[in-house]
């Protein structure tokens, strides 16, 4: 019986609640209802008191979690949608993120952020917030792309003494299936070569890893191109060494992301490669992101707004032809 990405998230939380009495879950509708995406289904029943419904107060939710973390608890806060974390922005970046540096007391807080677009979700239920949080010192930002990573990285995030923004992709929830949760044991901070190649490197994360792999398959059939796909897994810390090593093999870089195009993770990837691997580049590095508009509602617009295997192919063909 195959397992899904959201199964992994639920099972990881189950494991954490079972094995660590300091872990508790806090979020809107996560109790008896089981969460907007059912990521906590059945957990309150098994752990009454440790799976708590919160008022619709994102700011207070993180504030509460920070207070509990100071006390040594390991709260997991579910933002119903990553988009709503903007309400909690202050508590995340000013309260949680600065605490260890200022006081020496770390905040083992995990914020689960259902991220990215699904058709029809529109401007306020589709955002990718990883770049915003990665910008701030004191936060770890992870973006699992596989079922096994969703499982192991959530456990690792909760065990991490620092605030972790765990970006889980809503499109992958039920779309992505695997035999089990068993992974390759890579820790947070290490990227993975998802697909090896020699003609160009695509650096991606979260759902875009799958789009990159599909694009690579198309180009393989089309012209025998061998595209290497690097899955960042965690955008902060960013595994620059693995990226640079890949570009050293291929000489060409496409940084791919689902977030808005101004700045962000893909810009960070390019800037690192240019700064540290300038001599490796045989073509100007490229970026491909969502368009610089709010995420549109209509599925046709939505599909064109974010990078797709087709648009990744277009970008790669340009890159390969340079």
């Amino acid at each position: 019986m195959p397992v899904t990405y959201i199964d992994a998230i639920r099972e990881a939380q189950l494991y954490l609640l079972e094995t660590d009495p300091d872990v508790f879950l806090y979020g809107q509708d996560i109790g008896e209802f089981g969460g907007a995406f059912k990521a906590t289904k059945g957990l309150q029943e098994r752990f009454p008191g440790r799976v708590k419904d919160a008022p619709i107060s994102e700011d207070a939710m993180i504030g509460v979690a920070v207070g509990a973390a100071i006390e040594g608890m390991k709260p997991i806060v579910e933002m119903q949608f990553a988009d709503f974390s903007s309400i909690a922005f202050n508590q995340i970046v000013n309260q949680a993120a600065t605490h260890y540096y200022r006081t020496g007391v770390s905040i083992p807080l995990t914020v689960r952020m259902p991220s990215g677009g699904t058709p029809g979700s529109g401007p306020f239920h589709s955002q990718s917030m990883e770049s915003i949080y990665a910008h701030y010192p004191g936060i770890v930002v992870v973006t699992p792309a596989t079922v096994a990573d969703a499982y192991s990285m959530l456990i690792e995030s909760v065990q991490c003494p620092d605030p972790v923004v765990y970006c889980e992709h809503k499109f992958l929830y039920r779309w992505l299936k695997a035999e089990d949760f068993k992974g390759d044991g890579l820790p947070i901070g290490k990227a993975r070569i998802t697909r090896s190649g020699k003609h160009a490197t695509v650096v991606a994360y979260s759902a875009m890893v799958h789009e990159a792999v599909r694009a690579a398959d198309i180009l393989q059939r089309e012209g025998g191109w061998e595209i290497e796909v690097v899955d960042l897994r965690s955008v902060k810390p960013m595994d620059t060494d693995t990226i640079i090593a890949s570009v050293a093999r291929t000489g060409r870089l496409l940084a791919l992301g689902e977030a808005f195009p101004w700045g962000g993770v893909s810009a960070e990837v390019v800037s690192r490669v240019v700064a540290e691997g300038f001599h490796l580049l045989d073509a100007p590095p490229m970026r491909l992101n969502a368009k610089d508009t709010p995420v549109p509602y209509h599925p046709k617009l939505w599909a064109a707004h974010r990078p797709t295997p087709e648009s990744v192919c277009v970008a790669l063909r340009q890159l390969l032809a340079y």
Partner: protein
């Protein structure tokens, strides 16, 4: 349900009064010294005084115990910090940037704290601490260590306008936490008068809306503050749920020492709220017979000596070394062993 703590009704006695007065006096004198150090160019950044708010703040702090309770003081709570047990040296070390202080030069002035002892380190964003104290209390409840514990935080009239304050207070009420939230209504948020800040008659009227027990008090009156805060903390500790206190008073300084508060009218200064709580307290101590005049003079001399010693000590200690500073904001190993390669120039 929370088991009621052994503490029953609050009783104001001489011992409590003397401790309260000592904290107020220490705060007043220590802040005067901090102001002077600022005006001598020794302290950079800013100095924000609680002058005029000592009675209120100390009345709360005196009911709290480090290592047991959770307190998130705000900008004008030197008296409350001192009353709860903060050492003077903690203050001077933080203001003067000594590496021996709790913030090690990484943060300054009123942003200090000892979170593991229950003294939280405030951020500048108003109202943000309400939910943090709530979270600490919820953690203790989950662990079964909440009995007899009280959480407290202070805000000004300005902070009541923030969303965080509302969200936090709502959570506190929903979770029925043993918590006391004190609003020091000192008439101005920096320079903005209360009529531009809110439209209700009294902020305490909001207690009903949140489902909290409300208390009003004259913030210039030490004995009144001691009674009301003592009662509020005792009720919270007894398991009677969260308490909201509004005190009316006037900040007797600028927002910070760089601000001469020229926007405060003469009428306001001369009003009842403009009374100096320190003078009121002095008279009350004498009247109650809890201190003689000479005892107060001795106390002042003793505190003064402590302050001078703490300032001298902090000034002689090392300041942070930017060349050997651990420029890492992450506690976990991944932040250190990772392949992050930012040039920290």
């Amino acid at each position: 349900m929370e088991k009621p703590s052994p503490i029953s009704k609050f009783e104001l006695n001489a011992e409590h009064g003397r401790a309260l007065f000592r904290a107020m006096l220490t705060s007043r004198m220590l802040e005067a010294k901090l102001s002077s150090l600022y005006k001598a160019g020794k302290i950079v950044g800013g100095v924000y005084l609680g002058k005029g708010q000592e009675a209120l703040s100390a009345s709360l702090g005196i009911c709290l115990k480090q290592g047991r309770d959770v307190f998130a003081p705000l900008i004008r709570d030197q008296a409350g910090r001192t009353a709860m047990g903060e050492e003077i040296i903690e203050v001077t070390r933080t203001y003067l940037g000594s590496v021996e202080g709790p913030m090690r030069g990484r943060d300054g002035n009123i942003h200090r704290g000892r979170p593991k002892d229950g003294m939280l380190a405030m951020i500048s964003h108003l109202g943000a601490a309400v939910s943090v104290v709530a979270g600490a209390l919820m953690a203790k409840r989950l662990r079964g260590t909440l009995a007899g514990v009280v959480g407290a935080t202070c805000v000004g009239d300005g902070a009541t306008s923030t969303g965080a304050f509302h969200e936090g207070l709502n959570v506190v009420a929903v979770e029925k936490l043993p918590m006391v939230v004190v609003i020091a209504n000192n008439q101005y948020a920096y320079s903005t008068p209360t009529q531009s800040q809110f439209a209700c008659e009294n902020l305490i009227d909001r207690a009903l809306g949140y489902g909290l027990v409300g208390h009003s008090v004259d913030g210039t009156d030490m004995l009144a503050c001691a009674e009301v805060l003592g009662e509020a903390v005792a009720r919270a500790r007894r398991g009677e749920g969260p308490q909201l206190v509004e005190a009316k008073l006037l900040r007797l300084s600028g927002h910070g020492e760089h601000d001469d508060a020229s926007y405060v009218s003469e009428v306001m200064r001369e009003s009842h709220a403009g009374r100096d709580c320190m003078e009121v307290a002095r008279a009350q101590m004498l009247e109650k017979g809890w201190h003689s005049g000479s005892e107060i003079a001795d106390l002042e001399a003793e505190v003064s000596e402590q302050i001078v010693a703490a300032v001298a000590m902090a000034q002689k200690e090392n300041v942070p070394n930017p060349y050997t500073e651990d420029w890492c904001a992450i506690a976990s190993a991944i932040g250190r062993t990772s392949v992050e390669s930012e040039l920290c120039l």
